[in-house]
Amino acid sequence: MNDSSMRMTYLIIGMVAMTFVARCFFIFLGNRIKISEWALETIRYAPLAALIAILAPEIFLPVSASSVAEFNLRFPNIWGGIAALIAFYFTRKMIPTLVIGMGVFTAARFLL
């Protein structure tokens, strides 16, 4: 193996370790810590917030953006995103949401 593929092998092994460390963090600690009902109650919105935190920048910021300063209304994702939200609100279904969201997104890309 050459240097660059060695480096990539180490990197992949390292990233696998990061997956384990993060997803098993409190599992490694095991029963040494007692998890209170209060703690479980507070993290109830964690999965929702995590998905939103991944989603929101995809809709409101350009792919290459490095900060919120790059927000502008000529960005087609915003209009496609709003259309998809409205479509979902009324239909609650995947296909119409995708079709309407992508349709408005595509139209906005050509018009704006």
């Binding site: 992949i12 370790a17 599992i27 998905l51």
Partner: protein, 242 residues
């Protein structure tokens, strides 16, 4: 597996299949991005199968491209994965009766979607009494069904993306389709005011702090949303009493 365990596993698999379109759009996008990066096809497939953390993989690609030091890329992976640290707290509480190895395996396969499905179905861990009445550990098998389906759909589309990347043009807006498909998963979770406020908070914080290194915006958004959800739930409970 006993018939009851099998039934729960199949239930979990089918339930996760409702999210298949969303999972597959995201993993297709991730696969294409990996194939178009500096990674070879073999490296991309290995990363997909072993790392199995799409957001960390996507965050690593631009760093690999500029030749960032390995420790920077690993630190970024961990930061992007921080939300899983929070999920692992819930997992530990729910499956503390399992042996360490089984819990570690369960933890490794727990993604956003499988944790979400499990917590939606079972907001609270089993009590001692419920656990005694459930010697077959049916909740575990439903969870394994979620995880198996999630892994399967993710890998199929991810590897498809890696292999077919050169045939898929950039201007299809696939990444945006992934975002739209995620709306359909998030929508039903906004069923009460405190959840909606937590969501608005998370979205605002994630966008405003997008410029932070290590994708720290994700964990900041999760942290503030948790606090907002807590405050609102508390005030609504007090409101109900008075």
């Amino acid at each position: 597996m006993t018939p009851a365990q099998q039934r729960e596993f199949i239930y979990g698999f089918k339930q996760m299949s409702h999210s298949a379109v969303t999972i597959m759009t995201w993993s297709l996008v991730t696969g294409i991005a990996m194939a178009k990066s500096a990674l070879t096809i073999q490296q991309a497939i290995a990363m997909s199968l072993l790392v199995y953390a799409g957001s960390a993989q996507l965050a690593a690609l631009p760093l690999i491209a500029v030749g960032a030091p390995i420790w920077v890329i690993l630190a970024t992976s961990f930061m992007v994965n921080l939300r899983f640290v929070i999920f692992s707290l819930g997992l530990q509480a729910h499956f503390s009766y399992l042996s360490t190895w089984r819990r570690i395996l369960l933890g490794y396969f727990t993604t956003d979607f499988s944790y979400l499905n499990h917590i939606k179905r079972y907001p609270k861990p089993e009590t001692q009494k419920e656990l005694a009445a459930d010697p077959e550990h049916l909740r575990l098998y439903a969870m394994m069904g979620f995880q198996a389906a999630n892994w399967f759909y993710w890998q199929v589309a991810s590897i498809t993306g890696i292999l077919l990347a050169s045939q898929i043009p950039n201007d299809w807006g696939l990444a945006f389709a992934g975002a739209v498909a995620l709306i359909v998963i998030i929508g039903p979770m906004l069923d009460r005011a405190s959840a909606r406020w937590a969501a608005v908070t998370a979205g605002t914080v994630a966008v405003m702090t997008y410029g932070l290194p290590f994708r720290l915006n994700i964990i900041l958004a999760v942290g503030t949303a948790i606090i907002v959800g807590m405050i609102l739930d508390r005030s609504s409970k007090e409101g109900a009493i008075s």
